[in-house]
């Protein structure tokens, strides 16, 4: 006790950083920046797998029964497996690692002005567990019977009884991988919260913290509080599968509905867990590129608290027609529509930030603005689904699918590209090619809308999810609807092709791009005060903070930005 109490005072920096061997620099690093890279590249590789799955099953839907190029004939079991694992991968192995783990790890120490995470070795351990979980998931595709195909919600008894799901070990490995991933993020969360709480630079008050750090911390807290019951549930599900208990099996007195409650008690806050980091990233970008102070910093922060709190009491809107007491549904309709209020307020504040600005349409800004646009559509279509009476019709239809892709695609993919294009100069010390970035932006954003807008109409037409071939349903097998499916699939293929430009630009710029200055965007936050890329230990001299993160265009100052660590007497 006494030791740590004295240690707090000594804020001197150890200047001697010896050269690390390749093994300790790249494979077993403790440096938060390298761990962030590991998370990001693992996430990107998983995104390629998830994207490939979406290509295969969209092709199957557009041209049922035909051989898909690069894959072959898609059977119903394979189709289910791909749909299931596309969802699982995109949420747990792309959105979580890239948005929370990669950018959280990269930004929190830099933005808080300290040299590393509080517990670097714990950080490394959390990545290693994450890597194992990804490998377990990939391994599960190749066991006898194939990967798990019972939808990413894994409702029992389908997910527990091998005779029902026909993927005995696939299902068990799937739940094992998901549970490991949860544990990894619980461990990672320790670092995020303690670093942001305790390791801030001197002078950085609560209201000086950049919004993205706040939102990452809130996201991690939400995750911690929601995932506990599901970890318990995962243990119970695994025991149902392998030991023969009957927690979720009606044959032994259990209840499948219990799993739905546990799953969605986690599943709905999870939406906000991945939303908040992207919201934070967007806040950083729109302030920098419109040279404006964030409109209502405190309001935005409080709306995030409100959203987080409310997200724990809305879960049953996923189960309106699942056999819960219909009277309970009314309560959840009210809470669900209530959550639109803080989110709307947050979006309004973001839009108001643009007012009076000097907006420059650089690629990160385009991504950030397109996020607001797409998320607005995702948000308003959520109102339909929060209304229980409409959910009677829309439950598990393509309307639901289009709605949550209009939230998750902006959050995951657009948010990821916004963050990568914005922080790329800092991460790799080189600028990305602006022209190629813009081509990639339009080549992603337009096809994205062409994929998912038509799916709303398929949902209205009563088409339901996870069907590998609609020719078995006469009302859905009409030429018109089939044309819409083909259109969506074509758009997807175009969008996937445009990602080639991004990959080329990313890797070319990483090695051959123009050298980046320390602060190419003229931003205020602390990560831009260090060299690009930052050296081990980040800061030569640990900074002191004098003001909030969004002091742009302050009247009476010549330059339109005012870095957080610049002493007030200097100009």
């Amino acid at each position: 006790m006494s030791q740590s109490a004295t240690a707090i005072q000594t804020d001197t920096h150890a200047e001697h950083h010896e050269e690390l061997s390749f093994l300790y620099k790249y494979i077993l690093p403790v440096d938060h920046k390298m761990i962030a890279m590991q998370y990001m590249f693992t996430g990107l590789i998983m995104a390629v797998i998830g994207g490939f799955f979406s290509y295969v099953f969209r092709m199957q839907l557009a041209f049922p029964g035909e051989s898909v190029p690069l894959y072959g004939i898609v059977g119903p079991g394979e189709y289910n497996m791909m749909v299931t694992n596309h969802g699982t991968i995109m949420i747990f192995w792309v959105a979580m690692p890239v948005l929370i783990a990669a950018f959280g790890n990269y930004l929190i120490p830099l933005m808080c002005g300290c040299d590393d995470m509080v517990f670097p070795r714990l950080n490394r351990l959390s990545y290693q567990i994450f890597l194992v979980s990804a490998l377990v998931l990939i391994f599960s595709f190749f066991v006898k019977g194939g990967g798990f195909g019972g939808a990413w919600t894994a409702y029992p008894p389908l997910s527990t009884v091998p005779e029902y799901n026909l993927t005995d070990w696939g299902a068990s490995l799937w739940i094992l991988a998901v549970a490991l991933e949860f544990v990894s993020f619980l461990l990672g969360g320790i670092n995020f919260v303690t670093t942001a709480m305790n390791a801030r630079a001197p002078g950085m008050k609560m209201m000086d913290i950049p919004i993205v750090v706040w939102f990452l911390v809130i996201a991690v807290i939400l995750f911690m509080a929601s995932v506990g019951p599901l970890i318990a549930g995962a243990v119970m599900l695994f025991m149902d599968q392998r030991i023969g208990t009957t927690f979720f099996l009606p044959s032994g007195g259990g209840d499948p509905l219990l799993w739905e409650h546990l799953f969605w008690f986690f599943g709905h806050p999870e939406v906000y867990v991945v939303l908040l980091p992207t919201m934070g990233i967007v806040a950083e970008i729109i302030t920098v590129f419109s040279r404006k102070k964030l409109f209502g910093y405190r309001t935005i922060l409080y709306t995030a608290f409100a959203t987080g709190g409310l997200s724990f009491v809305v879960w049953a809107h996923h189960q309106f027609v699942a056999g819960i007491d219909p009277r309970m549904a009314n309560v959840f309709v009210v809470t669900t529509l209530l959550i639109s209020i803080p989110i709307a307020e947050m979006l309004f504040s973001y839009i108001a930030t643009l007012y009076g600005g000097s907006i420059e349409f650089k690629t990160p800004m385009l991504w950030a603005l397109s996020f607001l646009f797409a998320f607005l559509i995702g948000g308003v279509t959520g109102i339909y689904l929060g209304a229980s009476a409409l959910d009677v019709y829309f439950h598990d239809s393509y309307f639901v699918l289009a709605h949550f892709h209009y939230t998750f695609f902006p959050i995951t993919i657009i948010g990821m590209f916004a963050a990568i294009t914005y922080w790329f100069p800092k991460m790799f010390g080189r600028m990305m090619n602006e022209t190629l970035s813009k081509i990639h932006f339009w080549g992603t954003f337009i096809p994205f809308n062409c994929i998912f807008l038509p799916l709303f109409f398929l949902g209205l037409a009563g088409q339901h999810r996870r069907i590998y071939n609609f020719s078995h349903y006469p009302d859905l097998a009409t030429e018109n609807l089939q044309d819409v499916r083909v259109f969506a699939t074509t758009s997807l293929v175009i969008m996937l092709l445009f990602q080639g430009i991004f990959l080329y630009n990313f890797f070319y710029s990483m090695f051959k791009g123009e050298k980046a200055p320390d602060n190419p965007w003229k931003a205020n936050t602390l990560e831009w005060t260090v060299p690009s890329p930052p050296q081990h230990g980040n800061f030569k001299k640990l900074p002191t903070v004098y003001r909030g993160a969004y002091e742009y265009s302050v009247p009476g100052r010549e330059s339109d930005y005012w870095p957080q660590n610049m002493p007030p007497d200097k100009n």
Partner: protein
């Protein structure tokens, strides 16, 4: 300290030592995990699921003895913390090993109970009550074992004279393990509502 680590580890903007914050975080996430299990158990029980009357088959005496042992071990870890605060390393070492001893007694009684139940046919697949019983007490026992291992490691550290703050941290954790048992004991041994 052998490994000083980054500056970040030794800062304290909130005034609370970082280790204590982290331990509370671990405890909080554990509370949600056990809370989920306890909530499921209570829901099934309130629904009148058949099999839950088997709570009368568990031995209240063994449970009560284990509660007593765990509570005592919580006391000894508090004494260990007090001792290290006043710098008495040897005394703290002894108190930590008293706590570990408490854990061992707890596990012995637990093993005795388990084997008795399994021999009499009440295995984990017998009915939902026993499924919950073995899952939850088993998970709790794993936490006890984990705590004992960490305590053993810490005890030698403090003998050598470093990482004194960890006695307090493992104390927080051990109290949490104790608290979980305080919930499990009435649920599985006493309550028969």
């Amino acid at each position: 300290m052998s490994n000083r680590g980054p500056v970040a580890t030794h800062r304290s903007s909130t005034g609370i030592p970082t280790g204590r914050l982290a331990t509370w975080w671990v405890v909080a996430s554990e509370i949600f995990i056990f809370g989920g299990l306890i909530a499921c158990f209570v829901l099934f029980k309130l629904n009148g699921t058949p099999g839950f009357e088997d709570a009368s088959k568990t031995s209240v005496a063994a449970g009560a003895f284990n509660t007593f042992v765990l509570l005592t071990s919580s006391l000894t870890i508090v004494l260990a913390h007090a001792a290290i605060e006043s710098g008495e390393r040897k005394k703290a070492f002894n108190y930590i090993w008293c706590t570990i001893g408490g854990g061992i007694v707890f596990l012995i009684v637990k093993t005795y109970e388990y084997s008795g139940k399994i021999i009499s046919g009440d295995t984990i697949t017998e009915n939902l009550f026993w499924s919950f019983y073995y899952t939850m007490t088993g998970l709790h026992a794993l936490h006890v074992i984990g705590g004992m291992v960490i305590m053993a490691l810490i005890s030698f550290d403090i003998l050598k004279g470093y990482n004194f703050q960890r006695v307090e941290l493992i104390g927080i954790y051990w109290h949490f393990v104790d608290l979980v048992w305080i919930f499990l004991f009435p649920l599985f041994y006493i309550a028969n509502f």
